[in-house]
């Protein structure tokens, strides 16, 4: 990537973040080609939509066959994947060249049109996603990118205001290129390709970064305990989404942030204060969402901004709500820890007089309800990009305040230096926290269990990179 490299205090943090990321092929030996990695996946099903495959385990699996234009090796280091070059041609324009001749199975060659259509889905009715905030700085907010297509392999993106983090934002997994095919479903370009056997993914020899070390991946769907048992019986090599403490491998970046979104007119004005007084985040992460989570007090996770305990005014613990209709708390039925967290919230708020009914729904249903604003309370989790400015945009969008983006983002993007930008983001995050109907809860990282004979690195988004994984000799 060619672009201005920034130095400054932000990079202290970024470098710290940088510590924790693995660079490709850092082995003392060369990678071993060959082998089959058997993965037990604890989610209920494989997601087919990039904006829905955002839980770390889902994203890790999704990225094996759907990649985006680029990938973050660390917060400052961008590795082009489906793009060969992302060149800044002006103060607010970037020219992106796509890899030539990359073929997507059953959809022809990768073209700029595929990219535009893929990104446009984020803003369409029915598939509206909070990740459209990542494209917000573009002219037209990423909805109409036909005008940006220069040729079948070149796109020129221009932003409405200065936004230096644009290229890094484009590396988010939700912006992966997915081309819909007839008969439902979608195909993409990734290090592995799906075969006719649904649970086996074969290496993609023509992957622009080079074929993965592994020959194939074999996916087994199993719930948490069964998956761990399969691992201990050596019937699978890796468990994605669940770990026991002896085998746990965690990415160090907790970027999967879970919030409690609420509708103030339904919950009442005291809700935030009541919640803060009733629910202890440290307990929440210690007992109820224990695997790989850290408490999140501010709008952005601890990996992106140093946390300061919330300064929301606490309503007196004795404030009661009498005779109010019960509130419904929606949560993702595919994430088992959300059930425990939802129950905890239900129980703690019950002591203050709130009556809350829990309702598990599918993730697509959850997003639909978010898009329409049809909910009382919702546990909503999104995968934050490892950069503070796009993360703030995502948080504002998640809170449903799309209109605030117009006033907040340009001021942030106007700062050319990353460190200053980061400070501004931090300040805005603290300022906006009370305004947004969003209570941050905790942030999680990707969690896996693997037998030690596999080498599995993580990328800058905190997700495992299966294309760089290989078996290590005994």
């Amino acid at each position: 990537m060619k672009g201005p490299k920034q130095v400054g205090p932000f990079w202290a943090i970024a470098a710290f973040v940088h510590f924790l990321c693995v660079h490709p092929a850092d082995a003392a030996e060369r990678g071993n080609y060959g082998g089959t990695l058997r993965i037990a996946f604890t989610g209920p099903e494989a997601q087919a939509e990039p904006s829905l495959a955002d839980a770390p385990a889902d994203a890790a699996l999704f990225q094996t066959s759907f990649q985006g234009l680029c990938r973050l090796q660390s917060a400052d280091k961008l590795q082009p994947v489906l793009a060969t070059e992302m060149e800044q041609t002006g103060a607010r324009t970037w020219r992106i060249s796509l890899v030539e001749g990359a073929r997507i199975r059953s959809a022809g060659g990768l073209t700029a049109r595929h990219v535009a259509q893929s990104w446009a889905r984020l803003s369409q009715q029915g598939t509206l996603s909070p990740y459209r905030a990542l494209l917000y700085p573009l002219r037209g907010e990423g909805r109409q990118l036909e005008g940006a297509i220069l040729s079948s392999s070149m796109i020129e993106l221009s932003t409405a205001f200065a936004w230096p983090d644009l290229p890094a934002s484009l590396c988010h997994p939700a912006l992966a290129i997915a081309v819909p095919i007839a008969g439902g479903g979608a195909v993409g370009l990734g290090p592995f390709t799906a075969t006719s056997r649904g649970d086996v993914l074969e290496e993609n020899l023509s992957f622009p970064l080079g074929r993965p070390y592994l020959d194939r991946l074999k996916i087994v769907f199993a719930n948490g305990r069964r998956a761990l048992r399969l691992l201990s019986l050596a019937q699978v090599d890796l468990v994605l989404g669940e770990a026991e403490k002896t085998n746990l491998i965690r990415s160090p970046l907790e970027l999967y942030a879970t919030y409690l979104a609420f509708k103030a007119e339904r919950t009442g004005a005291d809700f935030r204060g009541d919640f803060e007084g009733a629910v202890d985040r440290a307990q929440l992460t210690q007992f109820f969402a224990p695997t790989a989570s850290v408490p999140m007090f501010n709008l952005l996770p601890p990996a992106l901004m140093p946390q300061s305990a919330t300064t929301a005014t606490r309503a007196s613990a004795a404030s009661k709500r009498r005779a109010a209709p019960p509130l419904t708390l929606l949560y993702d039925q595919a994430l088992p820890e959300q059930r425990l967290v939802a129950e905890r919230i239900q129980v703690r708020l019950h002591d203050l007089g709130y009556r809350i009914v829990l309702k598990p729904v599918s993730r697509s249903e959850l997003r639909k309800r978010w898009a329409l604003g049809q909910f009382d309370l919702m546990l909503h989790a999104v995968l934050m990009p490892p950069l503070p400015a796009p993360a703030l945009a995502l948080a504002i969008e998640l809170a449903g305040k799309h209109e605030l983006l117009a006033s907040e983002l340009p001021r942030i993007g106007a700062e050319a230096e990353a460190a200053v930008r980061e400070l501004k983001v931090r300040e805005r995050a603290l300022a906006l926290a009370a305004q947004l109907p969003l209570i941050p809860l905790y942030a999680q990282s990707a969690v896996l269990s693997a037998s030690p004979r596999w080498y599995l690195p993580f990328d800058g988004q905190g997700l495992p990179r299966f294309d760089d994984a290989y078996a290590v000799g005994e």
Binding site: A15, F16, A25, E29, F207, G210, N247, L248, P290
Partner: protein, 442 residues
């Protein structure tokens, strides 16, 4: 609990066994302060453990003390490690959040501290398992003008080492292949390095003589994940044959020393892997992988098969008979005397990915220079093995930073005594060429 432990660590580590180290020379003092500043500016997390190596233990200790003091002033909770077998393990076990590993040396009148800053924080949730492979996270590089005292200390200490490792050149990308040979007939070998962008010809002292950029050429449909390639030099004809996995094909170039240019002679689909006399030996590359073979041979001649695909093929033609070394994935290798299909061959184990035959003595007796055989070994080691029937370790040194992926022998000073030219991959994606010289016994 933790502060106690730290105090204990600091206490045991710095005070009981050793006498108070002498105050370091001013340049080392300055360097220590600069390094401390760098460490703090890189955002290291307290507490920090420090490991300093140099050819002089006393200098290392003094340097470490000053560095620790500076870090302590910056509230970094430093502790100094000495004689610790596995510093990273120690750091984890003692709940140290960052580890600084430094190497001190003098080069070109500069006292250079090079090392890395390394996060070792382990979330207690992760239990005993490694949460992530330890990786160097930030490079600490600082240098000050060396005063004569420091140079003297280091120089005299270096007498204890028969080998010396110095830098040679830096490249923006990691090296895919290395080769050395006398292309311009001046008696000293040139070093040719291949990266995914270009092929660079260096002179014996590290100057760039010629470059060929192949980045503009279209990529192969089956690109490689790592920088993979091969370079073979034919000094007589001044030919440089190279294969880059990014291109998916090989090019044979002719080096024009007076113009400092490389001219394309021909292209080929196979990869040049070795030389026998004046003819190039070609092999196949498994598409998208980092292995060659298993067969190789000259064009038009029957191929020699090594039985399995190999990572590297190293050869010493100046020895009689010529010796070939093939390293296979997994760290095994085969050494064959008398040519690649020589009758006298024996199997080797525990070779690193960067292995090569180097004739340090100039007598035609190759030594085996190899990297650490351990997977993800930290830090990287360079080992010099004497090639008897059972190779014995003659010398080993620790590389503070980087991984050795290529080893080739080059006669850089015209004395027929080769030095080992190492292709070192840096953690930030760049590459370095370092030279391991054997020092004459005095």
């Amino acid at each position: 609990m933790r502060p106690l432990l730290l105090l204990l660590a600091v206490g045991t580590m710095t005070f009981p066994q050793l006498p108070t180290p002498p105050p370091p020379p001013p340049s080392a003092h300055r360097l220590a302060l600069e390094v401390a500043e760098r460490i703090v500016s890189q955002g290291a997390e307290a507490p920090v453990a420090i490991l300093v190596r140099s050819s002089s233990q006393a200098l290392s200790d003094g340097f470490a003390t000053v560095l620790a003091a500076a870090l302590a002033r910056a509230q970094m909770g430093p502790s100094v490690l000495n004689n610790v077998a596995d510093p990273i393990q120690w750091a984890r076990a003692n709940l140290v959040k960052s580890l600084v590993r430094l190497e001190l040396r003098v080069e070109n009148g500069q006292l250079i501290a090079r090392g890395d800053l390394f996060g070792t924080w382990v979330n207690f949730w992760s239990g005993k398992a490694v949460t992530r492979p330890p990786q160097p996270a930030a490079i600490i590089r600082a240098s000050v003008d060396a005063d004569p005292e420091v140079a003297a200390i280091l120089a005299s200490s270096s007498d204890r080492n028969p080998f010396r490792l110095t830098g040679f050149a830096s490249l923006p990308l990691r090296t895919a292949a290395l080769a050395a040979g006398d292309l311009d007939g001046d008696g000293r070998d040139e070093v040719v390095a291949l990266t995914d962008d270009e092929l660079v010809v260096f002179s014996w002292d590290g100057r760039v003589l010629a470059k060929r950029n192949h980045r503009k050429q279209p990529a192969s449909p089956t690109p490689c994940r790592e920088p993979v390639g091969s370079v073979v030099l034919v000094p007589k004809t001044r030919q440089v044959a190279y294969f880059s996995c990014r291109l998916g094909k090989a090019e044979v170039l002719e080096f024009e020393p007076s113009q400092g240019s490389l001219k394309l002679v021909e292209t080929a689909d196979a990869a040049p892997i070795a030389r026998s006399g004046e003819s190039l030996l070609w092999t196949k590359v498994l598409p998208g992988q980092n292995t060659f073979g298993p067969e190789f041979g000259a064009k038009g001649e029957p191929a020699v098969s090594l039985g399995q695909a190999f990572w590297t093929l190293s050869y010493l033609l100046s020895s009689t008979p010529p010796v070939y070394l093939a390293v296979f994935p997994g760290g095994t290798g085969t050494l064959a005397r008398g040519g690649p299909s020589g009758a006298d061959r024996w199997a080797l184990r525990e070779l690193g990915a960067g292995s090569g035959l180097v004739d340090f003595e100039g007598r035609g007796v190759p030594a085996l220079v190899t990297s650490s055989p351990r997977f993800h070994s930290e830090p990287e080691e360079v080992r010099v093995l004497q090639l008897t029937k059972a190779p014995t370790l003659k010398w080993t040194a620790v590389l503070p930073i980087g991984l050795i992926l290529q080893v080739t022998g080059a006669d850089l000073d015209g004395t027929r005594r080769q030095a080992a030219v190492l292709g070192v991959w840096m953690p930030d994606g760049s590459g370095e060429i370092q030279v391991l010289r054997s020092l004459p016994a005095e």
